[in-house]
């Protein structure tokens, strides 16, 4: 009995060894390097799902310049060092397009690695498409020709946010609470300086930092916010630090408006609903489901139907892939050295609304209309999408035009000859 199965297993192994995966030259390989295991995987997997979704769609229509798109996931465990090993692996396997997003530390590592790699290995160019790392240094002092960023960086987001607050006369006292690391500090420092310029009458009544994902109980912080008399809180918190913060606020009955960047991240909507803070939490994004734009909503419906358990997606990945394919078509080549110039200054009708954005040549930063959305109960007729099964969803509050997101760069880009 057992012998038979041993034999069977051996036969299976032997069979497996003979089937070498078909290596085809007519594919464009996209290496997706992000966390696919452990804690960070909850966000990393979403990007991979979405890329695969897009690739399937494009391949069904015949691919790009006659080649199929192949998306390969590489698990970087959210560590810059592992990332570099995985990027090396991807390059070995013939990948020339690296997509990465989560973690500015990882982004910085990839950007610097790709720049050095291209310098040291001329003729085998690799390009880094960044869909979520938003530390300003990536497109300022450390900017690189081989890096393109589709998410608005922190400075741009804050430019947009403060331009939005500028017109909100009811904002009088602002409290800042952020995670104690570089992103949190960028948010706090920039908000303080921009508000001082745009709305000198606004009082900053608190500027708090707390260690990254170490706080279990935010009640003391909420007590401090309450004591300060703030009417508005600006926070760059994400993940557990955001969820626990709003839950503590809900528990203690704190009534303020929250301006955030990552409230929509996984678990955020659930926490806001549990905290029962309707129409108080705002999020600055480049797009969300309930914008009244049919082409986007149709795609989203198909996507959600396929990834029922993880129905979250990033509109910017649609922008990124759309522009990438367009550039490849224009260059009629999947070689980054050839299609990268086409991306520069490319204009593109954004996925979320069809309004136009552009890739700034100077620093390879994509500029696009941004939206202030607010989370709460939906108008079923006009706003069909809720979040995480809460029954609540993101609703439009304001669009921030491309010109109001403009922020200068210090980038002095070294271009290949």
């Amino acid at each position: 009995m057992t012998k038979a199965f041993v034999a069977g297993a051996l036969a299976l192994c032997a069979f497996g060894a003979t089937v070498v995966p078909a290596l085809a030259d007519d594919t464009i390989k996209i290496g997706y390097v992000d966390p696919l295991s452990g804690g960070g995987a909850s966000i990393g997997q979403i990007g991979l799902n979405q890329l695969k979704f897009i690739a399937d769609d494009v391949n069904a229509k015949g691919g790009v310049i006659g080649k199929k798109i192949e998306v390969i996931g590489y698990d970087n465990k959210l560590s810059p060092q592992v990332t570099l090993v995985q990027v090396q692996k991807a390059i070995d396997e013939g990948v020339q397009i690296i997509v990465q997003g989560n973690g500015s530390a990882v982004g910085a590592a990839v950007e610097s690695f790709v720049a050095k790699y291209n310098e040291r290995n001329p003729g085998k160019a690799v390009v880094y498409l960044n869909y979520a790392a938003i530390d300003p240094s990536l497109t300022n002092q450390n900017c690189s020709y081989w890096h393109f960023a589709w998410d608005a960086n922190v400075d741009i987001k804050l430019e947009a946010l403060t331009n939005f607050i500028k017109s909100k006369q009811e904002v009088k006292k602002v409290y800042l609470i952020d995670q104690d690391y570089s992103f949190g500090h960028s948010v706090a420092d920039t908000v303080v300086s921009m508000l001082k310029e745009k709305r000198p009458d606004i009082q900053i009544v608190g500027n708090e930092f707390h260690p990254l994902v170490k706080v279990t109980d935010f009640s003391p912080y909420i007590a401090k916010i309450k004591a300060s008399g703030a009417d508005t809180v600006v926070t760059g918190n994400w993940g557990q630090d955001f969820a626990l913060l709003v839950k503590a606020a809900g528990d203690s009955g704190l009534k303020v408006n929250w301006y955030t960047f990552y409230a929509g991240g996984s678990g955020g909507p659930t926490a806001i609903k549990q905290a029962n803070l309707p129409d108080q939490v705002y999020q600055l994004v480049e797009g969300f489901n309930n914008i009244d734009y049919k082409p986007m909503q149709d795609v989203v419906r198909t996507y959600i139907a396929r990834y029922k358990s993880e129905p979250i997606y990033y509109p910017r990945i649609f922008n990124m892939t759309g522009m990438l394919f367009k550039a490849i078509q224009e260059a009629n080549s999947a070689d980054p050295a050839k299609f990268a110039p086409k991306l520069e200054d490319m204009k593109y009708a954004t996925f979320a609304s069809g309004d136009e954005g552009f890739m700034r040549k100077k620093d390879h930063q994509f500029f696009q209309p941004l939206y202030m959305s607010v989370f709460g109960a939906l108008d079923a007729a006009k706003q069909p999408f809720d979040e995480e099964g809460t029954g609540w969803g993101w609703k439009p509050s304001a669009q921030i035009a491309v010109k109001d997101t403009d922020h200068p760069t210090t980038c002095e880009m070294k271009r290949p000859n």
Partner: protein, 423 residues
């Protein structure tokens, strides 16, 4: 000559092997992985100076790895900025110095006691340093860390250390030197006294040694070598960030040392190579790699607590007395049955994973390149049969192997005795 060979032969062979490896494995990934293994070998040996040699279970060893790396990165940037004529190859000394100094500093605090108290202090210190690294943004570079460019340093004999191959040789050289130094250290009076303190700290005091001083010295020297490892990591990746001195890295080195084997000098080397390989390769095969890793680890702790090196060492008397043939068939049988069990287990895991975590990709999948449908009954039945049948066979084969080992060992002992009485 014979004396020379018996002392240095191993090292010469190791150097030749290290020099030839890139000829066999020349891809970019292979070079990166081997570089990684080189630094991890140093790191895990430095950890074994604590755990294996001195009996100190530290939960914060990555602190020295990380600090060594940060000081090295800053040293590289300063050297490059100041156009100093310092070649890259000596820069790891900066990491070594940092490891030594911080080893002494933190060792002074933590080695006052051994046992659980020591472990807990290192746990606390590890958390403190890792948290502080995010707060002290100027030195540690915040979230992005500190980047550098190794080619900005003055070239040495025309080598600018841009290509990974040159970096591999640099790391291999440092690895050989460090391993030799750490091996030599085990054969000094201090090295022996470390073992004595590990076995019985109280008695060590009554033969004239201060256990606290021994722990302190061991801790400091181990910090030095961890610092070298961190410096090599900095050179290899050209980036250093706060994650490198955190709990994950400290945990990884414990895994390496334990899987390889705590009791022997070669154990941590084996562990570093194996675990690094798994870390690089396993996540390609499956994204449930953490589960496999956990199971492997539990299996090792339960069935092979002496580690791989310990397992090999147990075969030594059989090999010497040529009794190995008595056990090899049983080992092969156990290995085969084990593989079948693993095949069944991983088939079940992969199908479950597909149905849950990857439901969006549909139930059609491939296992070992065999296409199958995770919702149909047959593959599940096969998995169950492989798992249960293989497991049952494995347990029997393992028992038979143990019996065979005992008989063979007895035979070897008898043979050894016979040799001696003849002589």
């Amino acid at each position: 000559m014979k004396n020379f060979l018996s002392t240095f032969g191993v090292w010469i062979v190791a150097a030749i092997v290290a020099a030839c490896l890139p000829q066999l494995f020349g891809s970019g990934l292979a070079l990166t992985s081997m570089s990684l293994m080189g630094m991890m070998i140093i790191f895990s040996l430095s950890y074994n100076m604590l755990l294996g040699q001195t009996g100190l279970l530290s939960f914060g060893h990555a602190v020295f790895f990380g600090l060594g790396g940060f000081f090295c990165v800053h040293a590289m940037n300063d050297v490059a900025a100041g156009k100093l004529p310092v070649p890259l190859i000596v820069v790891p000394l900066a990491g070594a110095a940092a490891g030594l100094v911080f080893g002494a500093l933190l060792g002074w605090v933590s080695t006052r006691r051994g046992g659980t108290a020591f472990s807990m202090i290192t746990l606390g210190i590890g958390e403190l340093v890792a948290s502080s690294a995010l707060i002290l943004r100027h030195f540690f570079g915040g979230e992005e860390g500190v980047t550098t460019n190794r080619t900005d340093l003055a070239p040495l004999f025309g080598l600018n250390f841009g290509p990974q191959l040159q970096v591999y040789y640099l790391i291999a050289a440092w690895c050989l030197v460090s391993v030799a130094a750490m091996y030599a250290l085990t054969r000094t009076p201090f090295g022996r006294i470390c073992n004595a303190v590990r076995d019985n700290p109280e008695r060590a005091a009554f033969i004239g040694y201060d256990p606290q001083a021994v722990r302190f010295l061991s801790f400091t020297l181990s910090g030095l070598f961890a610092g070298i490892a961190g410096a090599l990591a900095a050179i290899n990746f050209e980036i250093m960030n706060a994650g490198q001195l955190g709990a994950a890295q400290s945990g990884a080195v414990i895994l390496m040392v334990f899987i390889g084997g705590v009791g022997t000098f070669a154990g941590p080397i084996i562990g570093a190579i194996l675990v690094t390989y798994l870390q690089v390769a396993l996540s390609d095969v499956t994204d449930a790699w953490q589960l496999y890793f956990g199971l492997l680890f539990i299996g090792m702790v339960m069935f092979v607590p002496e580690g791989i090196a310990g397992l090999l060492l147990r075969q030594q008397p059989l090999l010497r007395e040529r009794q190995l043939h008595r056990v090899v068939p049983f080992y092969a049988l156990a290995l085969l049955a084990g593989l079948v069990t693993i095949a069944g287990l991983s088939l079940a895991i992969e199908m479950a994973n597909r149905l849950t975590a990857h439901a969006g990709d549909g139930p059609k999948m491939a296992f070992l390149h065999v296409p199958l449908n995770a919702t149909s009954v047959l593959p599940w039945a096969i998995a169950a049969v492989l798992l249960v049948g293989g497991g049952w066979l494995f347990l029997r084969a393992a028992r038979a192997s143990r019996n065979a080992y005992d008989t063979a060992l007895a035979a070897s002992l008898a043979a050894a005795l016979a040799h001696r009485s003849n002589a």
